[in-house]
Amino acid sequence: MRAERHTAFDTAHPLVPAVYTVLTVSFTMFAFQPVLIMISLAGGLLYACVCDGPRAAAMSLRWQLPLMIIVALINPLFSASGSTELFRLGPRAVYLESLCYGCAMGGLFAASVLWFRAATHLVPFDRVMALAGNAAPTIALMTSMSMRLIPRFMRQGKLVAAVQDVAAACVGQGQAARSGARDAVAGRLRLSTVLMGWTMEDSLETADAMRARGWHAGVRRTVYTRFRFTALDALRIIVLVLAGCLCAAIAAAATGQYAFYPRMSELVPWWGYAPYAAWMLVPTVLHVREEARCQ
C-alpha cells in the first residue's frame, strides 16, 4: 500500500503545487542558459535527495548521466558550428562551443526529468484525479480505470504465460525445448488474444456495475472531495505568480544575452541568479520544514 507521505504543499489546495510545478518545468525547459540550467538541475537534484533519499536520487542519475553524456557528445557531430576548433574527426571539425551546447542540452534534459519526477511528489496522482474529476469526470474516470488495468494486465499475462509454459513443457518432454523466433512471436500473439478476450468479458460486468450505481443518470454530478480554496491559497498563488513573473523575466534576460555561437558569451556574476535559485529551492525548503514539524 502506498504510504501516506508528508510532502511540500501537503496542506495547500492542489492548485498551488500545480501552478508551481507547471512554472518550474517551463522555466527548466525554456531557459537555455548554462547557469540557469545548473541552478535548475541542482534544485531538482536536491529535492529528489530530500524526497527519496540521496541513495535513490543517485540511482536515478545512473541512467540519466550516460544519457547526458551521449547528448553532449552527439551534438558536435551534427552541428559543426563554433569558432574554437578542438580537433578534427575525419572531414568534420569538432568545436568547443558545440560541445558545450551539447552539455547544456544534456543538463536541461536531466533537469526536466528530475522536475517531472518531482511533480509526481508535489501533485500526487489522486489529487490530480480529484481535481480533474470535478471538471471532466468521464476523462478522469477513464484515465484511472486504464491505469488500474495495466497491473492487472501484467498479472494476468504472467499467469497465461505460465500456464502455456507448463503445457509446453508437458508435451515437450523428450523433444527439444521449443525455440525460435516464430514460436516466440506466436506465443506473444496468443497471450494478447487471451488477454483481450478476458478483459473484454470483465469490462462488460464493470459497465453493468457502473450503470447499476447511476452512472449517466442524467443529473449534474457532484463531487466528494472538498478542496477548500482558502484566502491563504489565493495568496500563495498570487505570490507564486508574481515570483514566477520575476523568474521568467530573469530567464528571458539571461537567455537573450547569452549565445553559444559563434563564440560563447562570457558568464559574469549577476544578481538575477539569486531569486532564480531561491525559486528552485522552494519545494526542498518546504519539505524539510514539513519533516521537521512532523517530528
Binding site: R148, L159, V163, R190, V194, A212, H216, G218, T222
Partner: protein, 486 residues
Amino acid sequence: MPVKSDVRAAEAATPAIEARNLSFGYTGARRLVLNNLSWRVEQGAFALLVGGTGSGKSTLLSLCKPEIAPAGMRTGSIEVLGSPVEALDTAASARSVGYVFQNPENQIVCESVWHELAFGLENLGTPQGEMRRLIAETSYFFGIDDWFRSDTATLSGGRKQLLALAATLVMQPRVLLLDEPTAQLDPIAEKNFLHALFRVHRELGCTVVVATHRPQPMVDYATCAFELVDGHISPVANLASLRAQPHLGNADDADRGEQEGAPGSRAQSAAVELRRAWFRYGRREPWVVRNMDLTVQAGRIHALVGGNGCGKSTLLALMAGVQCLQRGSLSAASAARALLPQDPRALFIAETALDELMEWAPRAAYDEEDARRALERVGLAGSEGLHPYDLSGGQQQLLALAKLVLLKPRLLLLDEPTKGLDIAARRRVAAALRALCADGVTVVMASHDLDFVQQMADEISMVFDGEVACTASCEEFFQGNVYYRP
C-alpha cells in the same frame, strides 16, 4: 429505527418485488429462461433465490433493474416497491434498488476506497454535505474507516466485496439484490460478508434478495427462500432442507473408498517431494514458503487447504515448475505436468470449444476424435461449436480441464477447481478427477471448498504461514479439526 416504523407498517402492504406472469427469452434464443412465473417478496424479507447455474436467477434479478436488464423479449409485469420497473429511470433505480455482482474484481470502478464509496452518490448529484455524511456513516457501519484511504487494488477479495456492498448501500436503497455475492470468496471472507449483510437486513431494515447455488452458509440468516427450476419459481417450504451437504459422488464412489484403503497402506512412490524448501518472490520480499517438507503420493488426490495468502497457489506454481525454489529441493517424478489456474479463461484462445481443445493437437499428438471424446467425457457433448465465453462458469472449468487432460499429464495441479461452481458442475468436476485418478494421475488441488475436499481428497495438507501445519488422510484430518470443517 422506531421513528420510521409507522411509515414502514403502512407501506408493508406493498411488496418489495412483485412479478406477475413474467416470461423472458434472450434475443435469438428460442427457449424461455423465465416462463410465466409469479413471484412476491415482502418488504423486510431476507430471501434466498436458489437454483443451478443457468437457471435464470441472474436474469430474474437483473430484470428488477432496467438499466442492467439483458436484451430480450419480456412479457408480464414486474414491480419494485409498488412501481413498475419501466417507470424507474437510472437515478430512481439506483436510489431504490441496489445490486451487488458476483466478481469483486470487476465491480470496483474507482482507484481508491473513498472514491468508490462516493461514486454512486456523485452520479446522483447528491449535495456534498449530505454525501459526506452518508459516506462517513456507511464507513463506520462497515468498519471501513481504517482503510478508507487505501487503493482498491491493494484490497483482498473479501474486502473488495464488502466495499461493493457498502458502495451500493451508501445510496440507501430499500431493496438490495445480490447475485452470487460470495461465490468468489474464501470461507472466512464469506462469513464476514454474510454477517455484514445480515446486519444490513436487521439493523437497516433493508429487503435483501440473494441469488445463490450454494445456500448452506446463508440459511441461518434467511427468512424465506425460492427455488427457480426450468423457468418456474416455487417457495421452499422447509428452509432447513437447504442446509444439507450436497453429495458429490456417484454410486460406485462408496466402494472406491474401500479400494483406496489397500493401496494406501502399501509403500507408495512420491509424485512430488519438497525438502526444506524456501521460496520468496524477490530479494526484499518476505518468505512465502519457509522450510517446508511435503510429499505428494503418486496416483492420489492431495488437497491443500488454508486461508488466503498462505502460499497455496505459490506451492502449485512451484510444483508446476513456473517458479524455482531459492533453497531446498523439489523433485517431481514426471515432467508431464499441467496447471489449471483459478480462472479457466487464462487458457482460452479459440473461437469454439472444439478448436480450443485442438490447440495443442499437433504438438501433443492427438486428433479431433480424441478431442470430441474428451468433450463428451466432461459432459460438454453438443457444445463443440460454442464460443468458450458463452459457456457457463462450470462448463468453462470443465472445458479447461478437458484441454489439459488431452496433454496426458501425470501430475495435474488445480487451483480452486470448484470456485463459483454449482452442485451439478462440481459433481462433473469430481467425476472427471475420479476418472483421472483411476488412470493413475496424481492430482494436487488448492481449495477453499471443504465439502469438495472432504469428499474427494485422499490426503489433506493444511498450509499455514508458509509451512505445512499438518498432513493427514481425509478422515483423520476432519476428525481432528475443530474450526476448519465443512
